[in-house]
């Protein structure tokens, strides 16, 4: 009796679920336009899964595995895998956001590298990434040293230095636009805003990014520094090593791994810089290069966005994004290779 009951309800669920799903799909294929069919479909699929899940069965463990994996794999496939593959295909076509009329081979890739604004974006992004990586790591490490020293109030300092990292780059970008345009020009009376000069505007983004991101990198260095054994430091103190010698000869070599992590983290994040770029300069001011007028602070991510969304050139924007991905993938693979090599050495 009991087992029979345990079977009836799941069976009803399965049958009703299957019927609803089929009904909704028929509506879909008949190109009905009702909003309701979507909800019928969702309800049907959920009932079907519940039914399969609840029915007593020898393969229950396998079913549980599948049901547990389903939500993540489904969303992942729809939002990442399928668009990713489509994206690569689109980069070889004349896609305009709605339809594809023909394959154009590599012509998008060729056009892209012929455009001076893209090449310019590429170059300044590389410059920006390298300088930013150095700045953020130096400042972050210095802050970590302050917070790991024996002074009072280190937990307050840690929180204070970290605070900018909590708030979104977009909001902070507008705040800093105000600071560069109004505050700095008041403090240094008579000076012109940094954001009106093509070179200084890039420096402005660097300053803000370092300010925002160094606190986060500091946290990672702090954790690294805590792993340096106390007795080693004490031994160095007994031997008469100065604070600077201890730093360069003991602490820094011992946390070499942390340096690798932080360097790659900042490389990837600087390369992907978008929010601050959009909010602080939005590419301005323009600069004249030969015959072209170029947005002087348009980093790659913003260039991709503008190409696709503002200029409505979907295929070209997508192609730029694919190249953007390839560069990031190469950087990440390098990191994996380096950390594997280190593991072997250890």
């Amino acid at each position: 009796m009991n087992t029979k009951n345990a079977k009836t309800l799941p069976l009803i669920f399965m049958v009703v679920g299957a019927l609803l799903t089929i009904y909704a799909l028929i509506l879909d294929f008949m190109k009905s336009t009702g909003e309701l069919r979507g909800y019928i479909l969702i309800l049907g699929v959920i009932l079907l899964i519940l039914g399969i899940f609840k029915i007593p069965n020898k393969k229950h463990t396998k079913i549980v595995n599948m049901v547990f994996l389903f939500p993540m794999i489904f969303t992942f496939a729809v939002t990442v895998i399928i668009p990713f593959i489509l994206g690569i295909v689109y980069s070889f076509t004349d896609w305009n956001g709605i339809q594809v009329t023909k394959f154009v081979g590599l012509s998008n890739y060729i056009t892209m590298f012929k455009q001076s604004d893209y090449v310019y974006s590429f170059v300044i992004t590389v410059i920006y990434t390298v300088i930013n990586m150095i700045l953020v790591n130096v400042v972050g490490f210095a802050l970590a040293l302050v917070c790991s020293s024996k002074i009072k109030g280190t937990s307050f300092f840690r929180s204070a230095y970290f605070l900018p990292n909590l708030i979104g780059g977009l909001v902070l970008g507008y705040v800093w636009q105000f600071i560069f345009n109004k505050v700095f020009t008041t403090v240094f009376a008579g000076s012109v805003s940094m954001l009106t000069n093509a070179n200084l505007a890039l420096l402005a983004i660097l300053i803000v990014n370092t300010w925002q991101y160094a606190g986060y990198i500091m946290l990672i260095y702090l954790t690294g520094l805590q792993t340096v054994p106390k007795d080693v430091l004490e031994a160095a103190g007994v031997d008469g090593a100065s604070a600077i010698t201890t730093l360069f000869k003991i602490k820094m070599p011992m946390i070499a791994n942390t340096f690798t992590v932080c360097i790659f983290l900042t490389l990837v994040n600087s390369f992907k810089q978008f929010d601050l770029n959009l909010a602080i300069t939005n590419g301005a001011p323009s600069r004249i290069m030969g015959a072209d007028i170029i947005q002087s602070t348009e980093l790659l991510a913003l260039n991709i966005y503008n190409t696709a969304i503002r200029k409505n050139n979907y295929a070209l924007g997508q192609t730029k994004a694919v190249v953007f991905f390839i560069i990031l993938a190469v950087v990440s693979l390098t990191q994996v290779a380096i950390s594997k090599k280190k593991e072997v050495e250890l």
Binding site: G34, L36, R37, G38, Y39, L41, I42, F53, H60, T61, N65, F68, L69, P71, M72, T75, F76, V78, T79, V80, I81, I82, P83, F84, L86, G87, Y90, G97, K150, G153, T154, R158, S159, A160, Y161, F162, L163, I167, G168, L170, V171, Y174, F178, K182, V183, T186, W211, L219, I220, K272, L278, A279, A308, I309, Y314, Q318, A321, F324, F325, A329
Partner: protein, 286 residues
């Protein structure tokens, strides 16, 4: 000993000076949201004459149709909370299954897919995803664009990789004997997961919550693509940007808007400092 003491005092002072400069932009936001536009032009660095001006500014900003603070706040809340709850639950389930079968080929393959996808920047998928969502909407009648459903769905897909990665590592460390004991006592696999494993996952779920929470709350690009800049649903970052777009150089109002947008997360940080810092560190190291 005295030299050490002096050094400590100097160090503390240096620490405070750095903290002052790092926090300076926040002070500037606070003092300038209590000024009129004219006062800011006179001097953006002096204290405001009348703090009550802040309320006037806030009122103007909150009721502004481009910003509409409460409704943007609510949208941001709905998107963040729903995404986080589902993401934590689903990614725990998936990570559990994957890590319990980590010696088998299929599990390894799926796990590697998730890990490898962490390299994919949003830019590569942001345009095709619009096509995919539009087609899903046309075919099934479930509208994914300009709706909460689509944004939450996208965050599940994009947040999954990192969450599964972090959880997977943790679950591998939980002894299998625990589950076998529950199994012998007659517990079903799903019962074992919800009664035995889920409670053990709490610390690492905290990390997942914090990392994803900050990301989703502050994210601009994804919601701006899916919801549009002037759609019905606006998250706080979108509201700030559309407000700035319509009130160019009205710094008193822009800074008030920025202030209001920052407050929720600053309060959260003051309440849960330790957990947030710990979560950020754990996430970065794994």
């Amino acid at each position: 000993m005295r030299a050490q003491k002096i050094r400590n005092v100097v160090g503390t002072i240096v620490g405070f000076i750095i903290a002052f400069f790092i926090l300076c932009p926040f002070f500037l936001v606070v003092i300038n949201s209590a000024k009129t536009s004219a006062d800011i032009v006179v001097s953006p660095i002096t204290l405001p004459k009348n703090w009550a001006q802040m309320l006037t500014n806030f009122k103007g900003v909150i009721n502004n149709t481009n910003f509409s603070y409460w409704s943007s706040f609510r949208s941001s809340m709905i998107i963040t909370v729903v995404s986080l709850v589902l993401l934590t639950l689903f990614s725990s389930m998936a990570a559990w299954v994957l890590s319990r079968h980590h010696k088998e080929g299929w599990s390894n393959f799926i796990f590697m897919m998730f890990v490898a996808a962490m390299v994919i920047p949003f830019q590569v998928v942001m345009l095709p995803i619009l096509t995919v969502f539009k087609n899903i909407g046309n075919f099934t009648g479930i509208q994914m664009l300009s709706s909460y459903k689509g944004v939450v769905f996208a965050y599940l897909g994009f947040g999954g990789s990192m969450s599964i990665f972090v959880l997977h590592g943790f679950i591998k460390g939980i002894p299998k004997e625990l589950e076998e004991a529950a199994w012998i006592d007659g517990c079903s696999p799903e019962g074992t997961f919800f009664r035995v494993i889920m409670p053990l996952l709490r610390p690492v779920q905290m990390t997942v919550l914090i990392l994803n929470g900050l990301w989703i709350w502050n994210d601009y690009l994804l919601p701006s693509i899916m919801l549009g800049l002037n759609g019905k649903i606006k998250t706080l970052p979108i509201a700030v940007s559309s407000f700035v777009g319509s009130y160019v150089k009205q710094w008193d109002l822009i800074l008030s808007a920025a202030f209001l947008a920052m407050i929720p997360i600053v309060i959260l940080f003051l309440v849960a400092q330790k957990q947030i810092i710990q979560g950020m560190v754990d996430g970065a190291i794994k």
